[in-house]
Symmetry: C2
Subunit: 385 residues, 2 copies
């Protein structure tokens, strides 16, 4: 018991220290004083840290987040007043790439809502709500604005990332907000049900299923993305927690945490594979055997949350295993921040710290959430003494 307390305390210290280190990297290097954006969008992360972590309530963080939010609200949308956002823009805000998905718009929504929470400027919250409503329209009514072909014969599939992202957005907007909690209660249920459909035959969480929840033929249909499944799991866990539904909780731990861990963890070299084929064929994605930072972040949060909710020591053991691999392999001890992309054996594959898909986001979010969960766990242990 004492030993376990020490483990939790040690990890909490690690998380806090690493969070500080990581954020110092981004505050040092990523702000664009000239145009007000930042080289990889920070607004939501800075605002959130400023708002929720005592020691980050610092003027310079807010000072950097403010022009970041201004830049976003001004330049992110490609053809305002239409809602479609750019995936990447040049430093002066010229769009470079627009994806045919809803993820740029989703991260934009997170940033807008968080910015509103910190500065209370209502135009940010209006923007967040309008955008979420448009995203929901794309997902549930008509997605043709995301693409330009309206051919009706298309073979449609649902990516697990879509309902997971919707739960993430709902979670963000509902936080301590009764009006939003009510507004999006039905959407939350919908998202939970859609995610659960990706668990096929109780045997595997598949990344792509048909719109009516059936398996798909071919390599796409056999695709498993362990990080995505575990990320979905942690939103389901939060839902089970809110509802006090222990049956759902146990089912989620079993099928959305342990199952993807066992099928996705590389027993030989450690780390999560990016993709696995449910029938053990070789996945068709070139990067399938690479170890990416974000599934490890999601897994640390999910297993710690699962342990906190259930008390099952297996989950703490897995958290330890994932956290040890992650701290050992992804961190750049000399120049700070994390590498994002390792090759199969754990060596660094790409030495970039920021890129089109990696910014000041997954790892600081993970550190902040783990620090918070560990703090609460330690407090509970303390209280029960």
């Amino acid at each position: 018991m004492e030993n376990q307390w020490e483990t939790l305390q040690a990890w909490k210290d690690h998380m806090a220290k690493e969070l500080d280190t990581v954020i110092s990297f981004w505050t040092d290097y990523s702000h664009d004083q000239e145009y007000g954006g930042s080289f990889s969008c920070l607004s939501r992360m800075y605002c959130r840290l400023y708002r929720t972590v005592e020691r980050f309530r610092r003027a310079e963080l807010l000072g950097a987040a403010k022009p970041g939010g201004e830049f976003l609200i001004r330049f992110a949308r490609v053809e305002p007043p239409a809602k479609k956002c750019a995936f990447s823009v040049t430093k002066d805000g010229t769009p470079v790439k627009v994806q045919r998905t809803l993820f740029s718009e989703s991260y934009y929504t997170l940033a807008m809502n968080e910015r509103w929470r910190v500065t209370e400027e209502t135009r940010y919250q209006n923007e967040a709500v309008e955008m979420l409503d448009r995203i929901v329209y794309w997902v549930r009514v008509d997605s043709s604005e995301l693409s330009w072909t309206r051919f009706s014969r298309t073979h449609k599939a649902e990516d697990l990332a879509v309902p997971t992202m919707l739960l993430h957005l709902v979670d963000q907007l509902q936080e301590e907000d009764e009006e939003m909690s009510k507004k999006y209660a039905e959407l939350e249920d919908w998202g939970v049900q859609r995610i659960l459909k990706h668990l096929q035959e109780w045997k595997a969480v598949l990344d792509n299923i048909s719109e009516d929840g059936q398996g798909l033929p071919g390599a796409f249909g056999r695709e498993q993305n362990p990080g995505q499944a575990i990320e979905a799991g942690r939103y389901l866990l939060q839902d089970a927690q809110r509802e006090g539904d222990t049956q759902l909780r146990d089912q989620v731990i079993d099928k959305f945490l342990l199952l993807p861990f066992h099928s996705g963890w590389d027993a030989e070299h450690g780390g999560f594979y990016s993709f696995r084929d449910v029938d053990n064929w070789v996945p068709h994605r070139l990067e399938w055997d690479m170890k990416l930072w974000w599934p490890h972040c999601e897994a640390m949060i999910a297993f710690l949350m699962g342990y906190s909710d259930s008390g099952d020591p297996t989950l703490l053991k897995i958290f330890n295993q994932v956290a040890e691999y992650t701290f050992c392999h992804f961190r750049d001890l000399v120049y700070r921040e994390w590498y994002g992309y390792l090759i199969e054996d754990g060596r660094v594959g790409l030495s970039i710290k920021g890129g089109l898909y990696k910014g000041c986001y997954y790892n600081p979010q993970c550190m902040a959430m783990c620090e918070q969960i560990l703090g609460a766990l330690l407090q509970r242990t303390e209280d029960s003494k």
Copy 2:
């Protein structure tokens, strides 16, 4: 001299034998008797082999190519009469994915023209010419049909694959066709000039440049794709050959063959890297250090062609080096056909033989072209005895 003759003869035999083996794999496994397509489009390759290689003038090859062509002309276009084609379809022809590029339409054009050459049905040639004219319109006049956003501020870039593909199409349609040679003469010049603009400061062939031929900032602007540069080089070589322009030939050999070979070849493990950064940063593509089959195919053709045109023994030496690596690492000696994706050290990364980007195309094309060039070289040696 005798020794060199033996080398050429040995490679010619290898190429012919491998071509037969590879084609037997696809005839055995890829035809869809039910719907008439094939699992990875074969029409052009079969028609071309039937038409140009004596020993493939076999009824079963034509018998397979015919329903393949029917399937394509019927199902490839997503919203006929509009020209946009699907990148992938289900076996009954339902579109699954449509790319925002012109490559699906280009391969369709190649297939339509080749099908016409073999069966003389004019609707195939009409389709080829109409499609090429539309592609040219997209590239040179207005690309908005390829995308759905018409925002004008976009940061535009030209990918080396685009003018290279245009030269490929022109080359296909002009073959023994005076009318087409005349029709597309100006386009050919345009393509050559655009490719040459990708050679920046005489130092490197860059994959992405601005529309007016300038370098671009950031990781995209620093990107080199050795296979793409060498492929562009072989179309330039063909142009220099036709024009009898030995100055262009020498420049192309120097800058579009030798330069990408030296910057792209992995001196430690052998094989071409997929991407290199011109300033030696780590490329931002996850698969940058993988060895893909098609750059090796393009390099074998280009270096053999360069040797045949110039007689420079360095080029034959490099052909040997690339061909030895390729025959040793990519072929599946037991089950036939080639692997497409190796990891850096040359081991198989993905064991698939066909996929969304790999079908019966690059390697049989390479074998057939190398066999033909080697045959001509041997004949020349024979004649000069």
